[in-house]
Symmetry: D4
Subunit: 244 residues, 8 copies
């Protein structure tokens, strides 16, 4: 905000534009108070909107105003129909149906920083894995995906040993017994973020088994986010990779 | 019991001996009603006594009477002091301090049947692993141990791949994230019994994480016993190996 | 895979067919990464597909390709409509509406190995019990069912005492208080796999009471799978029976 | 209290004695406010004192004053040393070391009413079972005990089928999987009170498995008290038997 | 069953009728194995059918066959539409929409035994309270209802003090904080069965708070059934009242 | 702090004294960072020190320094021995053994404000009740205690109806089923703070049942603190009474 | 009620009107027994009706009868359609769609008492916050709202520091990590009521994390209501503010 | 290991020394199988030994052998007495009584890398905070501590805003309501690792409240380790800082 006012004071930004930008920030604040907007702006990250339970019109409105003000927007947990309705209005927005995200970039894409690898244990973990990957990408990273490398067939994982060794940050997504992050952390020297998913049924089958397994990992250096929180893992991975 | 009475009727067993044997069975019933004694006898298994909270005198008395009647006895969860006191009275009894067991064989050891392998993830899982191994041995099996092969260092496990491949039944013991049984089940074609242990701390750290991880394993064919129940796993492994 | 390549090398399998088979394996890997396919192939087991949330077209496609490549397929948790749609395309596939399975055999049925008995406590446990039975059958076993023998009427169970005594592996399925596996294990000398079901309501009524009861069983030799995991129990029973 | 005042008014009780009795009631109220004293007095039941954490002197004092006022006293959860100290002062008091109770009767024992049977699954359930039995006896009932009839050996239970059939109220005490009350309820026509005990270890092993199993029993007519609450079960059984 | 055969032997029942009755018993066994049918018959209780998930046709069929064989039937948890469909076929069946029951009596109603009082805390507890009351009535009891006497307004409860004092068995139904059974037990001398209901929201609000409160009651003599188990409470109350 | 500096600036406080006072605040901050000291000072409340795990010397040191600087101190959760050691050094400090508190006043006692009533259900709830009462007294309130009025004997509670009606804030302390706050709230028009205690055993018996019962109370206007948090309830009651 | 009868006796109220009013009270009792009506009447509070699962006709009927008898009515948890249907019949009733309330005042609005501030952490907490605010307003208070001041952006909260400092009672509503009440309590001297909301997902995400966080707050003087219980918090705040 | 063999082959290491080093690695493997030793060696990290339940002799032996082989050792969770005994034998080892660690460096200390800040909420969180700090220091980092900045007094935290802004990785340690990591994450642009501690009592008071609060944080980019796992957080922080 202070930058905006400085810009107004220095004549770099007109009063009308400033008013509009402030209105946009106000919208953002109203719609999703759970993100520290200042951090987003300081770091050049896109604004993030939690799309669940917002109407396509609301989302399209936010996206258009923000893009106009030069701010990229990442919408998470957006339903397929809502995304279709928004892209009808904002054609440049990229919808990722698996990640349930919509990304509307403002300006040219930055040069992406390599280093992040997202590993998923099974097919049903891919929604969450993609959410992590798309979040990290929207924050300026190049992301490599390794899929379907559950611990019941170690050969599939070991085939990717070199990619793992070259990673700077790893996001490892697994449901059911949640063992994959422990195994992966044993194979690499870099920070690993475990993401438990709600894949499974029965006792512990809504992600609790996976979450507890990751919290009790015998592999040092593993940190964890909440069940199905692909966005949080991707965001943390981007913060770590940015620090490099 | 009917066999005993038939033996008495046929003159193969004298009345006094029969009375004593019946008294022994009565003792067994009184002391640990939780085991199906008939099954033990039918299968030639040793009698099993839960040693926790019994005095050395009580244990020594049971062991001597049963041995005299030709019945081997396995005492589980016996404290170090109690075991010392019992072996002072029953010198032939084998005390395993790690497994917390005492085994008093009656008669010559049977020829042991190979096929059971007990795998433990870490040092702190060895009490439970040994309890499983000693139980299976007391029931007439030859048991191979594989130790310290936690999932954070896959190389240690893969070094034993051949032993695993030759196993007929696997007991896999792990605390913390409890991932080892899932990984092992993916490397073999035989039944795997997972034993979670109460190794760890924090949320899920008293074995719940490991138990839930094993119940939610992505590896088909894994069955589970309760936390720290090495005896149950060894017993089940012996029943499976006996069926072969 | 190595067998396939040997077959190609020996001229028993043409290159095109080999490519197609390898593509099928790839499909299988993509669709359901949670099963160790190598084990399935090594042991002559059918490929298993978790049908939940797959479209009839996807399932039919997988079934046809695998059958063509000489591989039997077992689909679990398939909805009634999906099964009808698939059998319209693959008429030979056997749909079991109670078990929610569809089995498409490739080649002649093998000679089935006897020894497995599946016991269910009540009517509402039959879905899970059938899933166990059909899984074991698809893996080459002859399965005897004993139904409606809940512990509140012991006479019904005791009437089957002889069948139980002849079993080599028992799968015992029960919801509510989950007592049946304990009672059954006391009547037999063979390994018993307990399957808790989500039958019930109120505290512990979604299978937790039954699961905890089985984990705390006073009958030695009982092992357990997760709530409603009939497939896992049938698979484990088949591994045990195969070892004989 | 009104009876006391009527007695004073009618000259049947002197003022000093009345004052002392009222003081005793006051003591009782102070010491253990959790029991409805009026009900105890109305029904001729003994006063009940929760002995845990009271000193022997305090207990002896209460017992003597109450006995003097013609009121019997049942002390529950009394430690062995405290009981010895109290019986040194009040020699007629009956200490039951297994039930952890002390009963000091005032006046002649009433004619006991038959009908209550207390059934225990295993040796480690006997403390709780005895607490139930002694409570019911102190309230004027004749109690039959059936011990060591866990569900893993049904023959032991079925041997008592006739005694069960003649019971008017059954208290069934079991830890671990807690299945015994369900099995017993299926064999009789009378009300059954299930008492889960904290016998066991691992998940659900502090009585939760047994409690949930009893709450989810497939046998109609079973009601339950809290874990290890032998006193509550004995008290309820006495109320039911008294109603007959 | 033995009575039936005796009747056949004595010529009191013809062979055809006997066969039909046996078929009916078989149906009953198939449909709901969780009730001890023998007990029901021994005591002259109606057969009980758990109506949830059965079609109107199935229910009507069972009801008609059983009535024809002289057996009354109580259907519990029957939906409004299913009840309407059944009463279209079996016009004499009494549908209680609040209790979600349908009762089809065979023969003249017995003389009802007084003594049971069902107390409910709030309006939303009435489904469960009525299920208890109707169950007890179907088993030959006269039932008094006391409604809307939650503990937040003690005056409403105290107004019924006399009715409570005359009761022989009390069923007390409460959700939310579940305090009513404790308060009621303090006002009476008879056995009290607490029934927690799933009335509420938030932590503990699906009946867990009420269940735990009843298990931890400071009022001696209270026993408990599972959340929403009005049927179980009514059945237990009938067993207790029958014993009188 | 600013007041102190103003005082120094105005010559009301010398530099040395100011330095010492600042050191005292520093001590307070170091020792128990969990209280908002500024609020304590603004409102004239005593400083509060959590005594658990501090040595008598540490406590005596803090008390003496603070008293010297004109600040009263309330020590909570202080063991009997520690209190004796402290009072040997600070003779004016008032030790309340039941509340486990020690209060060292600096200056004359303020005129106490009436309005707070602390109600306890049973004897074992008195520690927590006294902690609440002493906290409120130390903060300048006159506190009335009502003891031993558990819900199983309503007469005892109703005898205090007038005192309850005159209260301005009620703290109601109960373990086991935790029903007392709901009953009390129904009898009065003032705010009620419920304090669950860890009195009990078995399922929910460490205060969970009481906590959940209070959270699910059918009496509007009840708010709750954590299990055994008498201090928090007394503090909140003082804040409410102060607002009047 | 006694006031009503006095009024009848004094001729201030006619018999017919008295009869109608008593009928209204009877309706109220029938419909929602969980509120202490006497308190409501004594304090001049509106009658409160829990609207969930009542038909629009039922609600409109209650509202009209009560208004006619001079009693205001607050309906909580009323669905949008039901509210529309009721306002069609009772046009003066104020529907608050966010709070899910409907308020039908009888007579002139009272002069509102200032002092209550309702603070919400995020957009998704506003339903619950509005329910608290509307409840307090209906009970005669002026309520200030502070919105969207989650702890991840402290500046937003600190901007309202003066409003917080002037509050007499604070209701602080937060989901997810539930930290806001702790932070707010540290900034003010008045009682704070924390309301956890079911905003979130994953482990603890249905309000448990927020509830536990508030119960374990390091800020003294915080009391808590159950998850999503905005009504209870508003009611308690009104009781506290009324006491001033 | 391969490096060692290469060194032997190249004559850089003698056979005896190689044998001794291999023995040391073997010891390490035996004693604490839960760490990936290869990673430790690859990255130049010290070997980490979990000191809990090891004898001083065992620890001293491991430390001496490893130091001799040029490997630094960090012992965690070492008791005060054990540390004294070890430092008597290994005088250079640095014991940190608060962190419960002992660090025995081999060779010169490396140049430490700045960037890690460890923040603790209260005094009782310092053990865990120090364990994190000492771990990171032993891995070659310079660590800044910020202490006693709980959320109930925001001023204390805001005073450190600049230090927080300059951090590259933050470890934030908090018990009770666990809100501090959320607040801190809102003030900085770097990755934050939350460490819940078992500080507190009552519901959620053993760290569960803090853990759930951190998992549900409204501040993006926060990752979490298990309760009291200071070592894990310090290790992860070092991995992140090393990546820079």
């Amino acid at each position: 905000m202070s930058k905006l006012l400085h810009d107004v004071g220095a004549g770099r930004v007109g009063v009308d534009e400033a008013l509009e930008r402030m209105q946009i920030e106000r919208i953002a604040e109203l719609e999703h108070s759970t993100l520290d907007l200042e951090r987003a702006m300081r770091c050049g990250f896109p604004e993030v909107v939690f799309g669940h339970a917002k109407s396509p019109d609301q989302i399209a409105d936010i996206v258009q105003r923000m893009n106009k003000a030069g701010q990229s927007v990442l919408v998470t947990r957006i339903a397929r129909q809502a995304a279709a309705a928004v892209t009808a209005i904002v054609p440049d927005a990229e919808h990722n149906a698996i990640a349930r995200t919509l990304f509307a970039r403002s300006g040219d894409p930055p040069q992406c920083k390599p280093g992040i690898v997202v590993v998923t244990a099974g097919t049903s973990d891919q929604n969450v894995g993609e959410e992590a990957a798309v979040t990290a990408e929207a924050m300026g990273n190049e992301v490599i995906r390794i899929r379907d490398v559950g611990v019941a067939g170690l050969g599939r994982l070991l085939a990717h040993k070199e990619t793992l060794a070259r990673a700077k940050v790893l996001v490892v997504v697994a449901g059911m017994e949640g063992a994959l992050p422990s195994v992966v952390a044993g194979l690499t020297d870099c920070p690993v973020i475990g993401v438990p998913t709600s894949t499974g049924y029965g006792a512990g089958g809504k992600g609790e088994a996976a979450l507890l397994a990751m919290l009790n990992s015998c592999a040092a250096g593993l940190t964890v986010v909440n069940i199905d929180n692909g966005f949080g893992a991707g965001y943390a991975a981007a913060l770590i990779n940015r620090a490099r």
